[in-house]
Amino acid sequence: MKIVVCIKQVPDTTNVRINPETNTLMREGVESIINPFDMYALEEGIRLKEQHGGTVIALSMGPPQVESALREAISLGVDEVILLSDRAFAGADTLATAYTLARGIKKIGKVDVILMGRQAIDGDTGQVGPGVAENLGLPHVTEIRKIEQIDEDGTIVVERLLEDGYVRLKSKLPILLTVVKEINEPRLPSLKGKMAAKKAEIQSWNHEDIDLDPQRIGLTGSPTQVMKIFTPPKPSGGKIFEGDVHKAVTDLLAELRSAGIPIGQQKEEG
């Protein structure tokens, strides 16, 4: 079985703080990590290989420092890693990213399962997975909380998380799946794995190594543009509501929602 896990290196946004005075992101001490959801995808990929045999390949698109994320993937037990790195890939929105990853996977060849985390914790879009599937002409299912089984004939049964429960779906390989944290408990790296990771040679492909349309990659391939980035107004401390209960609750909820605070957002993972 050939398994490709797409991973992204992201800043650890759970540790990011806003400087209250300048209202800017404070990036001191914010590490680069493998996107947490992708760790679950890596674990699932390695488990599938342990169960069914085959190879696990970790694939990532990004600047050269993303090598460290791929080395980490090796220390966990993936067989091969590929870095898609080129200035021409930079500035890609989800459309261009999905296109580039798909072309990279196409170059890898016949793949049975493509895995990735449900979303990256910097972009928070969750759009790349379905985009890659569309580019490759494969079926996809998002929010997988369990791969129940894969049969010899390539039939796969999965459990997909929904807001109000889950649904069991059946399909056939090849398929693309995005995974949620319920799916497994990621393993720790082993020393042997870390030593292998240190020595490993990282394969890197630029835009010339892959068969692609240069118009569809990087900034050029991105229909969406970021116009502005700002820090959301943090609600000023200690707003107290009193009096009529119904009104107080209404006002509180309105205040929360207009500040973008996700109260009542079911199953939002951060």
Binding site: P11, V16, R17, I18, L25, M26, R27, P63, P64, Q65, R87, A88, A90, G91, D122, G123, D124, T125, Q127, P130, G131, A133, E134, N135, H140, E159, G165, Y166, V167, R168, L169, K172, L219, T220, G221, P223, T224, V226, K228, I229, F230, T231, P232, G238, I240, F241, E242, V245, V249, T250, L252, L256, G260, I261, P262, I263, G264, K267, E268, G270
Partner: protein, 393 residues
């Protein structure tokens, strides 16, 4: 290839603000000028932050659709079990405001089995045209088939804007559509407005785990697509006497490659306190163990875990595993709701790093109000049920 992002040396004053906002450690000061290194992901945060317009991103995206041919505001009418998903009403609300700015028609794409009643409902809420395809073989949970149909409809009907819900389905469906049509999609928008000058859809949404907000434009590709974050925008009310068209459309349906076996509804399961993004805690103010049911209800309504103060645990009202505080668990949720908890130092030690603290207590001088970002002074027996009611909508 030209550098996608550049610092204009003449304009740069070396203030270093770009360095502070860069989450990728890609900027440094060399001879008092900002310099980018290879770690740059072209995210654009520095461009926004620079007060001197010294950083430029060259944007020349590939050729898009003919913008003049696209008109109207379209939305995806997500539904399940014979009813429109609640997010659809929020999208309609947003669409109606966009209509006010753009003065264009609102349309909806409605696919599935026996959906005519919902089509009529859409019209009653202000949708001018429903493009409906009724077919029993368009089932739930098959985004591949739906994306194919949606794309075909959008290519035929050419709305300039297409909106969907930021639900599990929406976030799976719309990206596939966008990749088919080759247009831009912005996820999880909390605000949608029309730019006064260029009449483009301004899509604002949180990123970096909610630490920043980004406003996105899709200049030269159509439709401008966006998913709308659930439970942020106000749901529309029915539009009295509104009339609209229900147009039946038909396209060949792809052979399904994903089959639904069964849907399993959620059972109440214990949510892990340490990992929880939302926590509702109860304290001495609950007065009786059975009142923890209120806490559980509110927790369920916001999708969170149940916590407790030491007082409640010591009184035997709830097991120690729920205790938050110096001798219990330290938690770090996005939202922490403290109900009937006075706010002793030992409790605060376990939860004060929560992003948002909401306190409900009938004692206005309770210390918890000193650390709470929001509070309601009142009886939790009145406030909590009201909160549950309004959140569940």
């Amino acid at each position: 290839m030209a550098e996608p992002i550049q610092i204009i040396g003449d304009k740069c004053v070396g203030c270093g603000l770009c360095i502070k906002v860069c989450a990728y450690d890609a900027v440094s000061l060399v001879d008092k000028k900002a310099v980018l290194n290879e770690r740059c992901t072209v995210c654009g945060a520095c461009v926004s932050a620079c007060k001197y317009d010294a950083i430029l991103i060259e944007r020349r995206p590939f050729k898009g659709q003919d913008v003049e041919n696209y008109s109207g505001i379209c939305l995806f009418a997500e539904h399940r079990g014979g009813a429109l998903s609640s997010v659809v009403y929020e999208i309609i609300g947003a669409a109606r405001e966009l209509k006010a700015s753009l003065d264009k028609k609102i349309s909806a794409v409605l696919l599935g089995d026996k959906v005519r009643d919902m089509a009529e409902e859409l019209v009653s809420y202000g949708v001018d045209e429903v493009w409906m395809m009724e077919d029993p073989s368009i089932g739930d949970f098959n985004e591949e088939i739906q994306a194919d149909l949606v794309a075909k409809i959008l290519l035929d009907k050419k709305p300039e804007i297409f909106l969907g819900g930021g639900t599990i389905i929406g976030r799976s469906l719309l990206p596939r559509v966008a990749a088919k049509i080759l247009t831009g999609l912005t996820a999880d928008c909390t605000e949608l407005t029309i730019d006064g000058e260029n009449r483009l859809l301004r899509q604002t949404r949180p990123a970096f785990g909610g630490n920043i907000m980004a406003t996105i434009l899709c200049n030269s590709h159509r439709p401008q697509m966006a998913t709308v974050r659930h439970k942020v925008m106000k749901a529309a009310e029915p539009l009295q006497g509104h009339e609209g068209q229900i147009q039946e459309v038909s396209y060949p349906i792809l052979k399904p490659r994903v089959e639904v076996l069964e849907f399993v509804p959620e059972q109440t399961d214990t949510v892990n306190l340490a990992d929880a993004d939302f926590i509702v805690s109860g304290g001495r103010g609950l007065k009786d163990p059975k009142n923890f049911a209120l806490i559980e209800e509110l927790a369920k309504a916001i999708g969170g875990a149940v916590g407790a103060s030491r007082a409640a645990v010591d009184a035997g009202w709830i097991p120690y595993s729920h205790q938050v505080g110096q001798t219990g668990k330290t938690v770090n949720p996005t939202i922490y709701v403290a109900c009937g908890i006075s706010g002793a130092i030992q409790h605060l030690a376990g939860m004060k790093s929560s992003d948002i603290i909401i306190a409900i207590n009938n004692d206005p001088s309770a210390p918890i109000f000193n650390v709470a970002h929001f509070g309601i002074v009142g009886s939790l027996f009145d406030v909590v049920p009201e909160l549950v009611k309004q959140i569940q909508g």
